[in-house]
C-alpha cells in the first residue's frame, strides 16, 4: 500500500491547513499522475495548455473559386503531437474543450476576393469564415487571416483550414513566406477552456 506524505514547511513555522468545504456531501480530490505544482486562483504559475503552430514553407497553388485545404507542413511547436503536418494537415486534439484557432495565408497577385475558413470534421464550421475583399488594382497580394473559437470533443473532432480566391478563373499561389515561421501562411490553436 502506498503512503501519503505531508511535509512541513522548511522554515519550521507557519501552519498549513487543508480546509474542507462547508458541505455534508462526500467529495474526492483526484491529483494528476505527474510531478508538478497545483495552481490556485492566486497562482502566478501559468498553466501549460495544449498548443500547436505550423506554417506553409512551400508554394501552394489554389484553383479559382475552389475551397482548397492549406497544407501547413512545417511545425514550429506541437506540444502534444496532435497536428498532422504530413498527410491530412489537421488538428485532432485529445483534450475536450474550447479551442482558439487562428489561420492566415497570403494569396499572391490576387485579382478577386479571398476567404479563409476553419473546417470542423470536414465541413465549414459555423462562424468560422473570414472574408477579405479584393485588394483592388491588378495582381496585388491579398492577406486573409482570422480567428475562431470552436468546441472539440477531445477524441474524434478535428480542424482543417481552407482558403478560397476568385480571380476570374485563374489559379493563384499561396506565398510560402520565404521559410519564415512568422510567415503570412501560418496556423495555430490552443486550448482556452477544458471541458
Amino acid at each position: 500500500m502506498s503512503v501519503i506524505k505531508i511535509k512541513g514547511s522548511s522554515a519550521n513555522t507557519g501552519d498549513f491547513t487543508i480546509q474542507p468545504p462547508d458541505s455534508a456531501t462526500d467529495r474526492t480530490l483526484t491529483l494528476p499522475d505527474n510531478t508538478g505544482t497545483i495552481i490556485s486562483t492566486e497562482s502566478t504559475v501559468p498553466p501549460k495548455v495544449p498548443l500547436f503552430k505550423a506554417y506553409l514553407n512551400t508554394t501552394q497553388s489554389i484553383t479559382s473559386s475552389t475551397w482548397t485545404k492549406i497544407a501547413y507542413n512545417t511545425e514550429v511547436i506541437d506540444t502534444d503531437g496532435w497536428y498532422d503536418n504530413t498527410t491530412n494537415y489537421r488538428f485532432t486534439p485529445q483534450q475536450a474543450g474550447y479551442y482558439s484557432t487562428t489561420a492566415g495565408a497570403l494569396i499572391q497577385q490576387c485579382n478577386g476576393d479571398g476567404l479563409i475558413s476553419v473546417y470542423k470534421n470536414g465541413s465549414e464550421s459555423a462562424g468560422a469564415r473570414m472574408f477579405q475583399t479584393s485588394p483592388g488594382g491588378t495582381n496585388r497580394d491579398l492577406v486573409v487571416r482570422g480567428t475562431a473559437i470552436i468546441y472539440l470533443n477531445g477524441s474524434t473532432d478535428y480542424l482543417e483550414y481552407y482558403v478560397y480566391q476568385d480571380s476570374s478563373g485563374v489559379t493563384k499561389n499561396l506565398y510560402d513566406g520565404g521559410g519564415s515561421s512568422d510567415a503570412y501562411a501560418s496556423v495555430s490553436a490552443y486550448l482556452m477552456r477544458a471541458d
Binding site: I62, T63, S65, T66, A71, L115, Y162, D166, G169
Partner: protein, 58 residues
C-alpha cells in the same frame, strides 16, 4: 482546364455568389485527388455529369 472553368463554360450564367454562398461548393482536399464538386444545390441548374465535364477541353 480547372473544374471551375469547365462549369462556367457549361453554365456561363453562374455568378460568383453561387460559389461563395454554399449553393455550389468546389473543394480540393490537397490529397492529390484534385478539385471536386462537394455541394450542388442550385435551384434550376442540374449538376453537370462527369461526361459533360470531360467533353470540355482547353
Amino acid at each position: 482546364m480547372s473544374l471551375y472553368n469547365k462549369i462556367i463554360t457549361i453554365y456561363p450564367e453562374l455568378e460568383t455568389f453561387d460559389f461563395t454562398s454554399g449553393v455550389i461548393t468546389l473543394q480540393n482536399n490537397s490529397d492529390g485527388n484534385g478539385d471536386f464538386i462537394a455541394v450542388w444545390n442550385h435551384p434550376t441548374l442540374a449538376q453537370p455529369t462527369q461526361e459533360q465535364l470531360d467533353t470540355i477541353t482547353e
